[in-house]
Symmetry: C2
Subunit: 204 residues, 2 copies
DNA sequence: GCGTTCATGTAACCTGTTACATGATTCT
DNA sequence: AGAATCATGTAACAGGTTACATGAACGC
Protein backbone atom coordinates (compact mmCIF):
# COMPACT_ATOMS: atom_id res chain seq x y z
CA UNK A 1 0.00 0.00 0.00
CA UNK A 2 1.89 3.00 -1.27
CA UNK A 3 0.66 6.49 -0.40
CA UNK A 4 3.51 8.22 -2.25
CA UNK A 5 3.39 11.69 -0.85
CA UNK A 6 5.42 14.84 -0.97
CA UNK A 7 8.37 15.89 -3.04
CA UNK A 8 10.52 17.88 -0.69
CA UNK A 9 12.90 20.36 -2.25
CA UNK A 10 14.20 22.27 0.74
CA UNK A 11 16.30 25.32 0.44
CA UNK A 12 18.10 25.97 3.75
CA UNK A 13 17.52 29.73 3.56
CA UNK A 14 13.80 29.46 3.08
CA UNK A 15 13.05 26.51 5.35
CA UNK A 16 13.81 28.53 8.49
CA UNK A 17 10.35 29.93 9.03
CA UNK A 18 10.50 30.58 12.77
CA UNK A 19 12.60 33.59 11.88
CA UNK A 20 9.96 34.78 9.46
CA UNK A 21 7.06 33.98 11.74
CA UNK A 22 8.69 36.30 14.30
CA UNK A 23 9.38 39.02 11.73
CA UNK A 24 5.81 38.84 10.44
CA UNK A 25 4.45 39.04 13.99
CA UNK A 26 6.58 42.10 14.73
CA UNK A 27 5.22 43.58 11.51
CA UNK A 28 1.87 43.95 13.27
CA UNK A 29 3.24 45.77 16.27
CA UNK A 30 6.47 45.87 18.34
CA UNK A 31 6.51 43.22 21.07
CA UNK A 32 8.66 41.78 23.83
CA UNK A 33 9.83 38.15 23.87
CA UNK A 34 7.14 37.41 26.37
CA UNK A 35 4.44 38.95 24.18
CA UNK A 36 5.70 36.96 21.21
CA UNK A 37 5.58 33.74 23.19
CA UNK A 38 1.96 34.42 24.08
CA UNK A 39 1.26 35.37 20.49
CA UNK A 40 2.68 32.01 19.36
CA UNK A 41 0.29 30.30 21.77
CA UNK A 42 -2.68 32.16 20.43
CA UNK A 43 -2.88 33.37 16.88
CA UNK A 44 0.11 32.58 14.68
CA UNK A 45 0.57 29.34 16.59
CA UNK A 46 -2.03 27.68 14.45
CA UNK A 47 0.45 27.96 11.57
CA UNK A 48 3.75 27.72 13.35
CA UNK A 49 4.28 26.76 16.99
CA UNK A 50 7.23 27.90 19.05
CA UNK A 51 8.31 27.85 22.68
CA UNK A 52 9.79 30.75 24.60
CA UNK A 53 13.42 29.58 24.70
CA UNK A 54 13.27 29.27 20.93
CA UNK A 55 11.88 32.76 20.61
CA UNK A 56 14.49 34.40 22.87
CA UNK A 57 17.26 32.57 21.06
CA UNK A 58 15.94 33.64 17.66
CA UNK A 59 15.39 37.26 18.73
CA UNK A 60 19.04 37.49 19.77
CA UNK A 61 20.10 36.30 16.31
CA UNK A 62 17.72 38.63 14.49
CA UNK A 63 19.01 41.55 16.52
CA UNK A 64 22.61 40.74 15.60
CA UNK A 65 21.66 40.68 11.94
CA UNK A 66 19.83 44.00 12.27
CA UNK A 67 16.47 42.58 11.19
CA UNK A 68 14.91 43.72 14.45
CA UNK A 69 15.81 46.51 16.87
CA UNK A 70 15.45 46.31 20.63
CA UNK A 71 14.43 48.97 23.11
CA UNK A 72 14.36 48.64 26.89
CA UNK A 73 11.18 49.96 28.43
CA UNK A 74 11.53 50.85 32.09
CA UNK A 75 8.42 50.10 34.05
CA UNK A 76 7.63 51.01 37.61
CA UNK A 77 6.25 48.22 39.73
CA UNK A 78 6.96 45.38 37.31
CA UNK A 79 10.21 44.16 35.67
CA UNK A 80 11.47 46.03 32.62
CA UNK A 81 10.59 44.80 29.17
CA UNK A 82 12.73 44.57 26.05
CA UNK A 83 10.52 45.52 23.14
CA UNK A 84 11.56 44.41 19.64
CA UNK A 85 10.57 46.18 16.43
CA UNK A 86 10.84 45.22 12.79
CA UNK A 87 13.50 47.23 10.94
CA UNK A 88 13.51 48.09 7.24
CA UNK A 89 16.07 45.31 6.71
CA UNK A 90 13.60 42.98 8.42
CA UNK A 91 10.83 44.09 6.06
CA UNK A 92 13.14 43.42 3.10
CA UNK A 93 13.91 39.98 4.49
CA UNK A 94 10.21 39.07 4.69
CA UNK A 95 9.72 40.21 1.11
CA UNK A 96 12.71 38.19 -0.15
CA UNK A 97 11.55 35.12 1.78
CA UNK A 98 8.03 35.42 0.41
CA UNK A 99 9.41 35.09 -3.12
CA UNK A 100 10.94 31.70 -2.41
CA UNK A 101 8.68 28.68 -2.92
CA UNK A 102 7.13 27.48 0.32
CA UNK A 103 8.00 24.05 1.69
CA UNK A 104 5.10 21.68 2.21
CA UNK A 105 4.07 20.84 5.74
CA UNK A 106 5.99 17.82 6.98
CA UNK A 107 3.44 15.56 8.64
CA UNK A 108 4.18 14.11 12.08
CA UNK A 109 1.22 12.41 13.63
CA UNK A 110 1.68 10.11 16.52
CA UNK A 111 -1.89 8.91 16.39
CA UNK A 112 -1.70 7.90 12.74
CA UNK A 113 1.46 5.92 13.40
CA UNK A 114 -0.55 3.88 15.93
CA UNK A 115 -3.30 3.41 13.40
CA UNK A 116 -0.74 2.29 10.85
CA UNK A 117 0.39 -0.42 13.25
CA UNK A 118 -3.13 -1.21 14.39
CA UNK A 119 -2.60 -4.92 14.99
CA UNK A 120 0.35 -4.26 17.31
CA UNK A 121 -1.36 -1.71 19.57
CA UNK A 122 -3.84 -1.70 22.44
CA UNK A 123 -7.12 -1.00 20.67
CA UNK A 124 -9.26 -0.02 23.70
CA UNK A 125 -6.59 2.53 24.68
CA UNK A 126 -6.56 3.80 21.11
CA UNK A 127 -10.34 4.25 21.18
CA UNK A 128 -10.12 6.34 24.35
CA UNK A 129 -7.45 8.47 22.77
CA UNK A 130 -9.55 8.83 19.63
CA UNK A 131 -12.53 9.98 21.69
CA UNK A 132 -10.43 12.71 23.33
CA UNK A 133 -9.06 13.76 20.02
CA UNK A 134 -12.52 14.02 18.52
CA UNK A 135 -13.65 16.27 21.35
CA UNK A 136 -10.63 18.50 20.84
CA UNK A 137 -11.30 18.83 17.12
CA UNK A 138 -14.97 19.60 17.73
CA UNK A 139 -14.12 22.30 20.26
CA UNK A 140 -11.71 24.03 17.94
CA UNK A 141 -14.10 23.62 15.05
CA UNK A 142 -16.82 25.49 16.93
CA UNK A 143 -14.42 28.14 18.11
CA UNK A 144 -13.10 28.80 14.61
CA UNK A 145 -16.62 28.85 13.15
CA UNK A 146 -17.72 31.40 15.69
CA UNK A 147 -14.75 33.66 15.00
CA UNK A 148 -14.95 33.31 11.22
CA UNK A 149 -18.69 34.01 11.17
CA UNK A 150 -18.09 37.49 12.57
CA UNK A 151 -15.42 38.63 10.10
CA UNK A 152 -15.91 40.64 6.92
CA UNK A 153 -12.36 41.44 5.79
CA UNK A 154 -11.73 45.15 5.36
CA UNK A 155 -8.05 45.03 4.43
CA UNK A 156 -5.38 42.68 3.10
CA UNK A 157 -4.18 41.52 6.53
CA UNK A 158 -7.68 40.61 7.64
CA UNK A 159 -8.28 38.73 4.40
CA UNK A 160 -5.12 36.67 4.95
CA UNK A 161 -6.06 35.83 8.52
CA UNK A 162 -9.59 34.93 7.53
CA UNK A 163 -8.28 32.54 4.88
CA UNK A 164 -6.00 31.01 7.53
CA UNK A 165 -8.94 30.61 9.86
CA UNK A 166 -10.89 29.02 7.03
CA UNK A 167 -8.31 26.28 6.40
CA UNK A 168 -8.09 25.71 10.15
CA UNK A 169 -11.83 25.28 10.30
CA UNK A 170 -11.92 22.86 7.37
CA UNK A 171 -9.07 20.91 8.91
CA UNK A 172 -10.78 20.57 12.28
CA UNK A 173 -14.14 19.74 10.71
CA UNK A 174 -12.72 16.89 8.62
CA UNK A 175 -10.72 15.51 11.51
CA UNK A 176 -13.75 15.53 13.80
CA UNK A 177 -15.87 13.71 11.21
CA UNK A 178 -13.10 11.23 10.55
CA UNK A 179 -12.68 10.51 14.27
CA UNK A 180 -16.37 9.73 14.53
CA UNK A 181 -16.25 7.35 11.56
CA UNK A 182 -13.09 5.73 12.87
CA UNK A 183 -14.57 5.20 16.33
CA UNK A 184 -17.45 3.42 14.63
CA UNK A 185 -15.09 1.30 12.53
CA UNK A 186 -13.08 0.31 15.62
CA UNK A 187 -16.07 -0.93 17.64
CA UNK A 188 -15.63 -4.51 18.81
CA UNK A 189 -18.64 -5.70 16.83
CA UNK A 190 -17.15 -4.26 13.66
CA UNK A 191 -13.69 -5.66 14.32
CA UNK A 192 -15.15 -9.11 15.03
CA UNK A 193 -15.95 -9.64 11.37
CA UNK A 194 -12.25 -9.24 10.51
CA UNK A 195 -9.49 -11.76 11.00
CA UNK A 196 -6.36 -10.55 12.71
CA UNK A 197 -3.89 -11.31 15.49
CA UNK A 198 -5.39 -8.97 18.09
CA UNK A 199 -9.09 -9.67 17.83
CA UNK A 200 -9.82 -13.32 18.34
CA UNK A 201 -13.30 -14.19 19.48
CA UNK A 202 -13.92 -17.77 20.56
CA UNK A 203 -16.91 -19.49 18.94
CA UNK A 204 -17.19 -16.90 16.20
CA UNK B 1 -7.87 37.55 16.32
CA UNK B 2 -7.19 34.63 18.59
CA UNK B 3 -7.28 31.10 17.22
CA UNK B 4 -6.39 29.52 20.57
CA UNK B 5 -5.30 26.08 19.56
CA UNK B 6 -3.72 23.04 21.11
CA UNK B 7 -2.93 22.13 24.66
CA UNK B 8 0.33 20.28 24.46
CA UNK B 9 1.10 17.91 27.28
CA UNK B 10 4.18 16.15 26.08
CA UNK B 11 5.66 13.22 27.85
CA UNK B 12 9.26 12.74 26.72
CA UNK B 13 8.93 8.96 26.58
CA UNK B 14 5.90 8.99 24.37
CA UNK B 15 6.75 11.94 22.14
CA UNK B 16 9.58 10.08 20.44
CA UNK B 17 7.54 8.49 17.69
CA UNK B 18 10.28 7.94 15.12
CA UNK B 19 11.34 5.05 17.27
CA UNK B 20 7.82 3.66 17.22
CA UNK B 21 7.28 4.34 13.55
CA UNK B 22 10.35 2.17 12.88
CA UNK B 23 9.22 -0.56 15.28
CA UNK B 24 5.75 -0.62 13.73
CA UNK B 25 7.25 -0.83 10.24
CA UNK B 26 9.47 -3.72 11.26
CA UNK B 27 6.34 -5.36 12.67
CA UNK B 28 5.18 -5.88 9.10
CA UNK B 29 8.34 -7.55 7.93
CA UNK B 30 12.10 -7.43 8.69
CA UNK B 31 13.86 -4.74 6.68
CA UNK B 32 17.24 -3.11 6.14
CA UNK B 33 17.90 0.57 6.84
CA UNK B 34 17.66 1.23 3.15
CA UNK B 35 14.30 -0.52 2.89
CA UNK B 36 13.03 1.48 5.85
CA UNK B 37 14.14 4.73 4.28
CA UNK B 38 12.18 3.86 1.14
CA UNK B 39 9.24 2.79 3.27
CA UNK B 40 9.30 6.20 4.97
CA UNK B 41 9.16 7.82 1.54
CA UNK B 42 6.18 5.77 0.49
CA UNK B 43 3.65 4.47 2.93
CA UNK B 44 4.22 5.39 6.59
CA UNK B 45 5.73 8.68 5.42
CA UNK B 46 2.28 10.16 5.14
CA UNK B 47 2.10 9.97 8.95
CA UNK B 48 5.70 10.42 9.92
CA UNK B 49 8.54 11.48 7.64
CA UNK B 50 12.16 10.56 8.24
CA UNK B 51 15.46 10.74 6.37
CA UNK B 52 17.99 7.96 6.10
CA UNK B 53 20.62 9.34 8.52
CA UNK B 54 17.87 9.58 11.11
CA UNK B 55 16.82 6.01 10.47
CA UNK B 56 20.35 4.56 10.69
CA UNK B 57 21.01 6.49 13.88
CA UNK B 58 17.74 5.30 15.43
CA UNK B 59 18.29 1.69 14.36
CA UNK B 60 21.65 1.68 16.15
CA UNK B 61 19.93 2.88 19.36
CA UNK B 62 17.09 0.37 19.08
CA UNK B 63 19.59 -2.42 18.57
CA UNK B 64 21.50 -1.42 21.71
CA UNK B 65 18.27 -1.51 23.71
CA UNK B 66 17.38 -4.90 22.28
CA UNK B 67 14.15 -3.71 20.69
CA UNK B 68 15.34 -4.87 17.28
CA UNK B 69 17.82 -7.55 16.24
CA UNK B 70 20.15 -7.29 13.26
CA UNK B 71 21.29 -9.97 10.84
CA UNK B 72 23.84 -9.57 8.06
CA UNK B 73 22.70 -11.04 4.78
CA UNK B 74 25.55 -11.83 2.41
CA UNK B 75 24.64 -11.22 -1.18
CA UNK B 76 26.60 -12.07 -4.27
CA UNK B 77 26.88 -9.31 -6.82
CA UNK B 78 25.56 -6.50 -4.64
CA UNK B 79 26.68 -5.14 -1.26
CA UNK B 80 25.60 -7.02 1.86
CA UNK B 81 22.51 -5.90 3.71
CA UNK B 82 21.87 -5.62 7.43
CA UNK B 83 18.32 -6.76 8.03
CA UNK B 84 16.58 -5.65 11.23
CA UNK B 85 13.74 -7.55 12.90
CA UNK B 86 11.36 -6.65 15.71
CA UNK B 87 12.10 -8.53 18.94
CA UNK B 88 9.59 -9.47 21.64
CA UNK B 89 10.91 -6.57 23.72
CA UNK B 90 10.19 -4.34 20.71
CA UNK B 91 6.64 -5.65 20.52
CA UNK B 92 6.19 -4.91 24.23
CA UNK B 93 7.52 -1.42 23.68
CA UNK B 94 4.94 -0.72 20.94
CA UNK B 95 2.17 -1.95 23.21
CA UNK B 96 3.32 0.21 26.15
CA UNK B 97 3.65 3.24 23.87
CA UNK B 98 0.19 2.71 22.42
CA UNK B 99 -1.28 3.02 25.92
CA UNK B 100 0.12 6.52 26.38
CA UNK B 101 -2.03 9.40 25.10
CA UNK B 102 -0.95 10.58 21.66
CA UNK B 103 0.46 14.05 21.20
CA UNK B 104 -1.39 16.29 18.75
CA UNK B 105 0.23 17.14 15.47
CA UNK B 106 2.37 20.26 15.85
CA UNK B 107 1.55 22.44 12.86
CA UNK B 108 4.38 24.03 10.87
CA UNK B 109 3.22 25.58 7.66
CA UNK B 110 5.42 27.97 5.85
CA UNK B 111 2.71 28.96 3.44
CA UNK B 112 0.25 29.89 6.17
CA UNK B 113 2.86 32.06 7.85
CA UNK B 114 3.07 34.03 4.59
CA UNK B 115 -0.69 34.30 4.49
CA UNK B 116 -0.69 35.50 8.08
CA UNK B 117 1.63 38.31 7.07
CA UNK B 118 -0.16 38.95 3.80
CA UNK B 119 0.42 42.70 3.66
CA UNK B 120 4.19 42.25 4.04
CA UNK B 121 4.68 39.67 1.29
CA UNK B 122 4.88 39.58 -2.49
CA UNK B 123 1.35 38.66 -3.48
CA UNK B 124 1.97 37.64 -7.12
CA UNK B 125 4.71 35.26 -5.93
CA UNK B 126 2.33 33.90 -3.31
CA UNK B 127 -0.31 33.25 -5.98
CA UNK B 128 2.16 31.25 -8.05
CA UNK B 129 3.10 29.24 -5.02
CA UNK B 130 -0.55 28.68 -4.21
CA UNK B 131 -1.20 27.42 -7.72
CA UNK B 132 1.60 24.84 -7.40
CA UNK B 133 0.34 23.80 -4.04
CA UNK B 134 -3.16 23.32 -5.35
CA UNK B 135 -1.89 21.08 -8.12
CA UNK B 136 0.05 18.97 -5.61
CA UNK B 137 -2.99 18.54 -3.39
CA UNK B 138 -5.15 17.58 -6.36
CA UNK B 139 -2.66 14.99 -7.54
CA UNK B 140 -2.45 13.33 -4.16
CA UNK B 141 -6.19 13.55 -3.75
CA UNK B 142 -6.72 11.57 -6.94
CA UNK B 143 -4.04 9.09 -6.07
CA UNK B 144 -5.48 8.44 -2.62
CA UNK B 145 -9.02 8.15 -4.00
CA UNK B 146 -7.90 5.59 -6.54
CA UNK B 147 -6.12 3.49 -3.92
CA UNK B 148 -8.91 3.74 -1.36
CA UNK B 149 -11.61 2.83 -3.88
CA UNK B 150 -10.01 -0.57 -4.41
CA UNK B 151 -9.74 -1.62 -0.74
CA UNK B 152 -12.19 -3.73 1.24
CA UNK B 153 -10.37 -4.35 4.54
CA UNK B 154 -9.99 -8.04 5.38
CA UNK B 155 -8.01 -7.71 8.61
CA UNK B 156 -7.16 -5.25 11.36
CA UNK B 157 -3.99 -3.95 9.69
CA UNK B 158 -5.79 -3.22 6.44
CA UNK B 159 -8.56 -1.44 8.31
CA UNK B 160 -6.02 0.80 10.06
CA UNK B 161 -4.27 1.67 6.82
CA UNK B 162 -7.54 2.35 5.06
CA UNK B 163 -8.57 4.76 7.81
CA UNK B 164 -5.18 6.45 7.45
CA UNK B 165 -5.70 6.75 3.74
CA UNK B 166 -9.15 8.17 4.38
CA UNK B 167 -7.89 11.04 6.55
CA UNK B 168 -5.14 11.68 4.01
CA UNK B 169 -7.76 11.92 1.30
CA UNK B 170 -9.98 14.27 3.29
CA UNK B 171 -6.98 16.40 4.12
CA UNK B 172 -5.89 16.72 0.49
CA UNK B 173 -9.43 17.35 -0.73
CA UNK B 174 -10.01 20.20 1.70
CA UNK B 175 -6.65 21.75 0.97
CA UNK B 176 -7.24 21.63 -2.78
CA UNK B 177 -10.65 23.25 -2.43
CA UNK B 178 -9.26 25.87 -0.07
CA UNK B 179 -6.42 26.70 -2.48
CA UNK B 180 -8.93 27.28 -5.25
CA UNK B 181 -11.05 29.60 -3.07
CA UNK B 182 -7.95 31.42 -1.87
CA UNK B 183 -6.65 31.95 -5.41
CA UNK B 184 -10.00 33.53 -6.22
CA UNK B 185 -9.88 35.73 -3.11
CA UNK B 186 -6.35 36.91 -3.96
CA UNK B 187 -7.17 38.01 -7.52
CA UNK B 188 -6.24 41.64 -8.14
CA UNK B 189 -9.84 42.62 -8.84
CA UNK B 190 -10.89 41.19 -5.48
CA UNK B 191 -8.03 42.80 -3.59
CA UNK B 192 -8.80 46.17 -5.19
CA UNK B 193 -11.95 46.58 -3.09
CA UNK B 194 -9.88 46.37 0.11
CA UNK B 195 -7.75 49.06 1.66
CA UNK B 196 -4.24 48.05 2.68
CA UNK B 197 -0.59 49.05 2.44
CA UNK B 198 0.28 46.76 -0.46
CA UNK B 199 -2.62 47.28 -2.84
CA UNK B 200 -3.00 50.91 -3.72
CA UNK B 201 -4.81 51.66 -6.95
CA UNK B 202 -4.77 55.23 -8.16
CA UNK B 203 -8.18 56.69 -9.04
CA UNK B 204 -10.05 53.91 -7.29
C1' DG C 1 1.41 33.21 53.48
C1' DC C 2 0.75 31.01 48.83
C1' DG C 3 -0.03 30.50 44.22
C1' DT C 4 -0.20 32.84 39.83
C1' DT C 5 1.23 35.96 36.41
C1' DC C 6 4.78 39.05 34.46
C1' DA C 7 9.30 38.85 32.48
C1' DT C 8 13.70 37.17 31.07
C1' DG C 9 16.69 34.06 30.29
C1' DT C 10 20.32 29.63 30.37
C1' DA C 11 21.87 24.69 29.88
C1' DA C 12 21.45 20.24 28.46
C1' DC C 13 19.63 17.38 25.50
C1' DC C 14 17.23 15.34 21.66
C1' DT C 15 15.63 15.54 16.81
C1' DG C 16 16.12 16.56 12.10
C1' DT C 17 18.70 18.21 7.90
C1' DT C 18 22.48 18.65 4.68
C1' DA C 19 26.56 17.44 2.86
C1' DC C 20 30.11 14.20 2.37
C1' DA C 21 31.97 9.49 1.52
C1' DT C 22 32.40 4.95 -0.66
C1' DG C 23 32.01 1.37 -3.94
C1' DA C 24 29.61 -1.99 -6.70
C1' DT C 25 26.02 -2.93 -10.25
C1' DT C 26 22.63 -2.14 -13.72
C1' DC C 27 20.59 0.54 -17.22
C1' DT C 28 20.93 3.54 -21.44
C1' DA D 1 31.24 5.76 -21.09
C1' DG D 2 28.20 7.86 -17.93
C1' DA D 3 24.16 8.05 -15.06
C1' DA D 4 21.27 5.99 -11.86
C1' DT D 5 20.37 2.77 -8.29
C1' DC D 6 21.70 -0.29 -4.37
C1' DA D 7 23.52 0.02 0.22
C1' DT D 8 25.65 1.84 4.22
C1' DG D 9 27.06 5.03 6.79
C1' DT D 10 29.47 9.69 9.23
C1' DA D 11 29.98 14.64 10.57
C1' DA D 12 28.50 19.06 11.32
C1' DC D 13 25.02 21.87 12.15
C1' DA D 14 20.34 23.77 12.87
C1' DG D 15 16.03 23.47 15.18
C1' DG D 16 13.12 22.23 19.06
C1' DT D 17 12.04 20.58 23.97
C1' DT D 18 12.52 20.29 28.90
C1' DA D 19 14.09 21.60 33.07
C1' DC D 20 16.18 25.00 35.82
C1' DA D 21 16.74 29.77 37.59
C1' DT D 22 15.40 34.33 39.33
C1' DG D 23 12.67 37.89 41.27
C1' DA D 24 8.93 41.22 41.73
C1' DA D 25 3.86 42.17 42.00
C1' DC D 26 -0.89 40.94 42.55
C1' DG D 27 -4.91 38.49 44.09
C1' DC D 28 -7.00 35.23 47.59
Amino acid sequence: MCFCTYIEAQNPENAVALKHAILVSLGDTPMSGYDLAKHFDESIGFFWRATHPQIYRELAKLREKGLVSAEDVIQQGRPNRTVYSLTDAGRQEILAWSRQPSTPDSVKDDFLVRLYGLDHVDIPALREDLQLRMEGHRDRCERFSAIAAGIRPGNVTELGRLRGLEIGLRYEREWAAWCEETLEALKDENLASLEGPVVKLVGQ
